[in-house]
């Protein structure tokens, strides 16, 4: 039984927030906080590309124009940051990973996502499949701001938001699971917010 915090009542419970949409230990914010481990990279859109490589029969790569020419999806999802904030009903536009992985032949079961600035994050390939992940370039109908990952970021809303790598440039499909930047630094390897998998051992 945890100790009661004498005199702590918390904020009045918000009638407009459905508690079943807020994972354990999270609180709902209206703004959009920024978190990253280093300076915000400046991408050169002329040479920008998104690639899928690693344990694949053939590497594939798209320029910004090629990505824009693929079927675009607009979706509204809730996002959950490991630092405790949850933002409901965020609207993004981009390309489904199902579209990008179509025709990629692989034995790999894991993915190492890499991004400008040297950031990496890992997740099982199945977490990027079947309508669970997108490469997004717009937020609320506007081009994604640099601080929030522009020109493009991964969006995997069912996992803590550090898995949704900002400034994403590619996926390396791997046979072995390889912990990424935060995963090697004490954060949970999988990161399911509904099981509150924040840190190692959660």
């Amino acid at each position: 039984m945890p100790p009661f915090s004498r005199g702590f009542h918390g904020r009045p419970r918000r009638p407009d927030v459905d508690p079943s949409r807020v994972p354990p230990g999270q609180y709902v914010v209206e703004d959009f906080p920024v978190l990253s481990a280093g300076p915000t990279p400046r991408a050169d859109l002329a040479t920008w590309s998104f690639s899928i490589q690693g344990a694949v029969d053939a590497c594939v790569s798209w320029t910004r124009e090629e990505l824009n020419a693929l079927p675009q999806e607009t979706l509204t999802v809730d996002i959950h940051c490991v630092t405790k904030w949850t933002k409901l009903d965020t609207t993004w536009t981009g390309v489904s990973l199902d579209t990008l992985l179509e025709g990629v032949s692989t034995e790999a079961e894991y993915v190492s996502v890499w991004a400008d600035g040297g950031y990496t994050t890992n997740l099982p390939l199945e977490d990027l499949s079947d309508g669970k992940a997108w490469i997004v370039h717009s937020f609320d109908g506007e081009p994604l701001e640099r601080a929030h990952g522009g020109p493009a970021r991964l969006l995997v809303p069912h996992l803590y938001f550090w898995k949704s790598a900002k400034w994403v440039r590619g996926l390396t499909l791997t046979v072995e699971d390889e912990p990424g930047f935060w995963e090697a630094a004490g954060y949970n390897n999988y990161g399911d917010p509904w099981r509150e998998q924040r840190y190692w051992g959660d």
Partner: protein, 254 residues
Amino acid sequence: MAEIAPARAVRAPLIWRTATVVELVDETAHARTLVLDVPAWPGHVAGQHVDVRLTAEDGYVAERSYSIASAPEEARVALTVERIDDGEVSPYLAGDLVVGDQFEVRGPVGGHFTWRTTDGGPLLLVAGGAGLVPLMAMVRHRAAVGSHVDTRLLVSAREITAVLYREELERLGSARDGLSITYTLTRAVPERWDGFARRVDGPMLEAVGPAASSHPRAFVCGPTPFVEAVADALVELGHAASDVHTERFGPTGG
């Protein structure tokens, strides 16, 4: 970010521990240090933070993260909390809490925004407001082990009375052990002020040093616009992006 992660061997789950408040120190009109007794605290590295969990009598739970202000060498864990007026947790921690009260903590957390004297230097620490807290842990760690690593601390605050740990910084900065402290005040300056009086910019960072050519490890902490501006300025001055460690916070939910 070619940073090597800390030893992977330590993968023990982080458990919630009951912390007891043993001392409260009002640092400024808006910030207070909570000195905690945490039984079986596993120790931390300067720069890390803890998760705090408060439980109301009706079972309602609120969690937040706070940077650790104390050096790893200190027996007690100190957090400094800035009160966000419309926040949910910080007005309680920095206002209602009294000595003897208890809440839960879990940690330490974070393996990137950390520094040990054995990591070497030189060191450039840039603090915006309460962003000084994790950097103070580094400065205290440095002093606790008698390190002489070349360390430049640049503290940005609205006014002089908003600077955290001011007396302790005066003392540490006059020890002639390689620590130099520079202040910049963005809203109001006292009479006969010889520090800076503007937002942190490239020329200020260049004046504070160390030069990019000496590859200092830079740690920048503060509100998001502050961190964005400082990190961009450092990269423009030629610092390698991988040498610039950032930690951002905002008044969100506080």
